[in-house]
Symmetry: C2
Subunit: 398 residues, 2 copies
């Protein structure tokens, strides 16, 4: 009976690969060939040869001398985030943001535009293509400079193929091969649901490496699951799809969800549900944003609606806290802009129903950078995946 | 803004450590020094020196010659699972199993005994100590041969300290330093909740490396969470503690749980709840096992009770399937022995309420080796953690 330790091996076996050496320099763990030798246990010759490849591919640069305690001071290495660029596409239900970034996910140019996701992949991706050419031109870059494309979508995606899978709010997108729409770039295209992408962006912006849930409450509700600093995707890449978890509202009503099931979390507590309930309560609103703004102005009915949505979301999060025991929950999306009343409802349910051990040190906060995280995350996903590929050196040196 | 790739680094930096080399040989990825050099990228000298240490510590053995395509054939290396032994303790509410295993988790001797967990740590751990000495003597081993101790407990544990944390069904155990009870062995002691331990055992027995939930339905209900073949523990080590997730029974009743909250999953659908409801329905039973046996004999009322428990467990699992998107769910514990009617209820709820993508290829099965997995898992946990420690070579060579 063999011990089940296979997981480590796949990672360890790439430890002195060009990608791994690059990662050590990018993350600041090593600043010279000698430090790379010490860190990886690889031979001096191996490290030197691979560093030379990375320098030829312009991913690493030599610059200056470090301190020495005796002997010739080492030549310092640094990551060249200008060796290429990434295209980041943050696709929402009613708008899209496209950005071009350098290889550290710094935004060089960006543009947003209204779309209707229900127009289908043909129309929407043609618009994305137009916007991508716009931002590239604005940044003074050519299609050949793009090393990787990252796309976030508001629905479940099979990560390995980049195809949406039965997305409830994206008619016509099921099984569409998104990567094929970026053929002009001749580079890898990575597609994931918008919430995984935002979660990566939140982690990148915060620079933290922990077990975190990033919960987006917009038109729908979804969750990015971060295990030890990386996106956890699950068997088919649909992990975190919490918007269609069954809930029982306190008032006992039954609500039909657009997915066809009854009483899905987002049918009770998503942005669309909030608007529906606000109109039913006689509030003078026509968008979810207006409900959130009324709550921010202290309107009693709006506050109560937002707080109730928080309570309902909190009952689901309480279960997930028991199951997942995260360090942190970050709320994002349009409804999360409501801030205090939403958090109050969530905290009431989570701290009231979670086990003491799991809730003890749990932080529940609202995102600091909700507008940025989608684009930064899409760029980070593309860059991380691209730099991890074995072919990264050959691709950039071509 | 630095990309968030720190996770890999901690793993990669140990890639040519003695522990990593050992792991390559144990898992069959490398069978010679040359293969270790090829696999890790480490220098021939580094690999040779560390292999010599591992041979001195008796963890590796040289044996025979491999095939060569020219030149001197390589000397083969193999893992010596007899370099030491592990103590495995599978602590339940009413019984304990203690085993001594070799370093591949093969059981050399084992003994079980009734206990009452409510007698508290003093009484119960004294009994464990007695049983451990018994199995060691039976296997012809001495306390000094024990390299590591693994303990599974029926309650939440802070893995880093080995202390139970507010265990709902273990009065007197909160914050007790379990490792201190094994002082006579002068070796590391690893403690985790019984379900994480069983999950490791299931993975070890199946030899599979995936994202899996191992759900134990015994007196209580808990879940081992396996991410990519390893136990996921979360921020405080309480991940998978699903027994106290709030559920709403179909019949609208309110049930007080022993944890003090109302309508916890295990208060509605655990083994204790099943017995309570069977007695209330007039069935001639006095233990949960008898209810399960009645269902196995085709008794209509018992079947319906088991199937309803399955449905309730299934509503929680449906939410977790959406959130976690596992490859597989393995049911274990006394109530899982009921088999078909429990699975039928679970599948009805899970396939009815999960998103199509997450449910598409999901397997839900009953454990093949429910009696073994606790001991095998406790041994594997101890062995894996021990062999991963940097000090493993020094410890064994002393």
């Amino acid at each position: 009976m063999a011990p089940a330790a296979c997981h480590y091996d796949a990672v360890a076996s790439t430890s002195a690969s060009a990608g791994a050496l690059l990662r050590h320099v990018r993350t600041g763990r090593a600043r010279s060939r000698a430090e790379l030798v010490a860190l990886t246990g690889a031979s001096r010759n191996t490290v030197s040869a691979r560093v030379d490849q990375l320098i030829a591919a312009k991913l690493l640069e030599e610059g200056g001398r470090g301190w020495s305690t005796g002997g010739r001071p080492p030549t310092l290495l640094r990551f060249n985030s200008e060796a290429g660029c990434a295209l980041a596409v943050d696709l929402g239900v009613t708008s899209v943001d496209v950005a071009v970034t350098d290889l550290s996910a710094r935004i060089l140019a960006t543009v947003g535009h209204p779309i209707d996701i229900a127009d289908g992949p043909g129309v929407v991706l043609a618009e994305v293509d137009r916007l991508a050419q716009l931002v590239l031109a604005e940044a003074g870059l050519a299609p050949a400079d793009v090393c990787a494309v990252g796309v976030g979508l508001p629905g479940p995606v099979e990560f390995s193929t980049g195809r949406p899978s039965h997305p409830p709010i994206m008619p016509g997108w099921h099984d569409y091969p998104i990567p094929s729409a970026f053929g002009r770039y001749d580079c890898p295209v990575y597609v994931d649901n918008d919430v995984n992408v935002m979660a990566l962006g939140e982690m990148g912006i915060a620079g933290s490496v922990q077990d975190v849930l990033v919960v987006k409450v917009g038109t729908g509700i979804g969750c990015g699951v971060i295990v030890d600093g990386r996106v956890y995707r699950g068997a088919q890449g649909s992990a975190g799809d919490i918007g269609h978890i069954y809930v029982q509202p306190a008032d006992g009503r039954t609500v039909l969800c657009r997915c066809g099931n009854e009483n899905c979390l987002e049918a009770i507590a998503g942005g669309g549900a909030l608007l529906r309930d606000a109109i039913a309560a006689g509030l003078p609103v026509s968008t979810t944003r207006e409900v959130v703004e009324l709550a921010a102005q202290g309107d009693g009915s709006a506050l109560e609606l937002v707080r109730n949505a928080g309570r309902t979301i909190g009952t689901v999060l309480a279960a997930l806290v028991n199951f997942f025991n995260p360090h942190r929950i970050v709320m994002t999306g349009g409804v999360a802009q409501a801030g205090a009343p939403l958090l109050a409802g969530i905290r009431e349910a989570v701290y009231g129903r979670s086990m003491p051990l799991a809730a003890r040190a749990l932080e529940i906060t609202v995102s600091d950078a909700p507008d940025l995280s989608g684009r930064v995350g899409a760029a980070l996903m593309a860059i991380e995946e691209f730099l991890d590929e074995d072919s990264v050196v050959e691709t950039l040196a071509r």
